[in-house]
Amino acid sequence: MSGNADIYHEMIVDYSRNPINYGQIENHDVTFHDSNPLCGDSIDIDIKIDENKITDIKFHGKGCAICMACSSVLTEITKGKSIDEARTIEKHDVLSELGLEHLQAVRIKCALLSLKVLKSALYTYIGKNLSDAEDVDKLKTEAENLY
């Protein structure tokens, strides 16, 4: 097999067929949705948080194999982490897990949609529990500088 088929190795195809942490959490503490206007990929993430720890996380939606595989890996990495730890997850953490470090620019958004949704969900949660306006501003700046 040649060319672009290489990125579709076993793990990506398997994850796309049998995604991990796929579904919804009924009594979630925060949920977030976003989509990619270019290709129509659409992801929701539900998170359950106990004492600042992510005790459960699930995603659902529609997307290509890259998007589904990255969402699976991301939720696996995230589960069990504290909010502060989860905030530091970067794109490299997801891409390297699947050998996608050299993914073309046009597909990178497929790979990182779920990370964007995760970060937005976390900031929504943190924002809700902030009283200090200055902290909210800081958070906004951090969110804007994400990508």
């Binding site: 097999m1 060319g3 067929r17 290709c39 129509g40 659409s42 597909r107």
Partner: protein
């Protein structure tokens, strides 16, 4: 006279881009013609010649260059008039493309004519450019946007049109002559007949039709017609809005500025004659001239030959693709009712993954919602893959696509 088959084989040499290879020396198989087409040397040379030998602004100066450039610019207007049978060249307005043409109508015609409670009718298989401008207009005016639905065979349900017309509130019916996703050729004659009987204006989005078949505006009998140059061998950034003079005269200017005025005073201005009233500012002169060269090229081949060639390719592609296990083609199977556009899904593989793998084999197909999310919702899919043909495509291109789909099947263990 050369045979049509050798005519189409020979013309590939006019397209320099077809000589290049992609992705490790693979033949470029360009199947995204519904999106934009490649350009022959004749078009590229016309643009270069303009900049090298004639460049000057049009319609004003009296020197030699300005005269040449004005003449070449206006010559394209005449070529368009002949090409789609428009009797009055004053009715041909140059715009950036179909999107701008439709926005121009929504603004310049919609503003003075649409009132609260009025209805504009579009269809479920429109490109976003024939939906969103109307959404903006009806929101501003408190009017309503209604749809002609589509059946499972990818054809419009004209009973829906009857229902809307029966309200007596419809002011405009707008539809594409060929769907950019399904390739369905709309029964424009029937729609226009019904609208005329109800005294309702019609707008045709001809972006997908004009490049691929003979179109006769006079015969169609619509009130507005829009199409783009870049989907028919011409450069990007140039298109046409045609409208009946009697309708254009009831419209307000779209952009204000130079060339569109007769007289300007401190607090008021009067408008130039048609079509210049709607061509404010220095236009896209070079690309209008390039567009003229594209029309010359198509006229030389003959639009009936273009259509015949595409019917042949579409027939071949439908046969070959239908034989691929797990591949689902959307739209009608009746070749006489569709253009050279085939949208499909391959088992449960996402179209983006299909496009990526076949790209590795040098094939350019489009994947996504094709700027037709309303249609995607109707088909109940997030996206499709789309292969669309033009004059330089061959049966070999289709064979290469089918082979690449076998790679997709292998990777995804279908």
């Amino acid at each position: 006279m050369q045979s049509t088959e050798s005519l189409f084989e020979n013309l590939r040499k006019d397209f320099p881009i077809l000589k290049r290879t992609v992705r490790d020396n693979k033949r470029l198989v360009y199947l995204d013609n519904a999106s934009t087409t490649q350009k022959p040397n004749q078009v590229i040379d016309a643009i270069t010649d303009y900049y090298q030998n004639h460049n000057a602004n049009i319609h004003r100066a009296v020197y030699a260059l300005a005269e040449e450039s004005t003449e070449a610019y206006e010559a394209t207007r005449d070529k368009i008039a002949d090409f789609i049978n428009i009797k009055n060249r004053q009715e041909i307005i140059f715009v950036r493309g179909t999107t701008e043409a439709i926005n121009l109508v929504a603004y310049s015609w919609g503003r003075p004519h649409i009132k609260e409670g009025d209805i504009i009718v579009t269809t479920e298989y429109e490109h976003h450019s024939n939906i969103v401008p109307w959404q903006l207009l009806v929101k501003e005016k408190g009017a309503k946007l209604e749809y002609i639905g589509m059946n499972d065979g990818g054809e419009l349900i004209l009973d829906d049109l009857d229902k809307h017309l029966a309200t007596g509130k419809v002011k405009l019916v707008t539809f594409s002559l060929m769907s950019n996703v399904l390739g369905t050729i709309t029964d424009a004659k029937k729609i226009i007949e019904k609208c005329k009987a109800a005294g309702v204006l019609t707008l045709i989005d001809g972006a997908q039709a004009v490049p691929h078949m003979k179109v006769d505006i006079e015969k169609l009998g619509c009130d507005f017609f829009a199409f783009s140059g870049h989907k028919m061998l011409g450069p990007t950034g140039i298109g046409v809005l045609w409208a009946k003079k009697s309708v254009l005269e009831t419209m307000v200017p779209f952009h204000g500025g130079g060339d569109m005025i007769r007289e300007v005073h401190k607090y008021e201005a009067t408008w130039n004659d048609l079509p210049y009233k709607f061509e404010a500012g220095t236009p896209n002169i070079a690309d209008v001239i390039g567009f003229g060269a594209a029309i010359d090229y198509l006229v030389k081949i003959g639009m009936d030959n273009v259509r015949e060639h595409e019917i042949e390719l579409t027939k071949y592609a439908m046969e070959k693709l239908s034989a691929v296990k797990g591949l689902r083609i959307y739209g009608t199977k009746d070749i006489s009712k569709r253009g050279g556009v085939i949208s499909f899904n391959f088992s449960d593989v996402h179209p983006h993954d299909v496009a990526q793998i076949v790209d590795g084999e040098g094939i350019a197909v489009r994947s996504g919602h094709h700027c037709a999310q309303v249609l995607m919702e109707r088909l109940n899919v997030a996206a499709t893959s789309r292969a669309s043909f033009y004059i330089y495509n061959t049966k070999q291109d289709i064979d290469i696509l089918v082979n690449a789909l076998n790679i997709v099947a292998k990777v995804f263990k279908l």
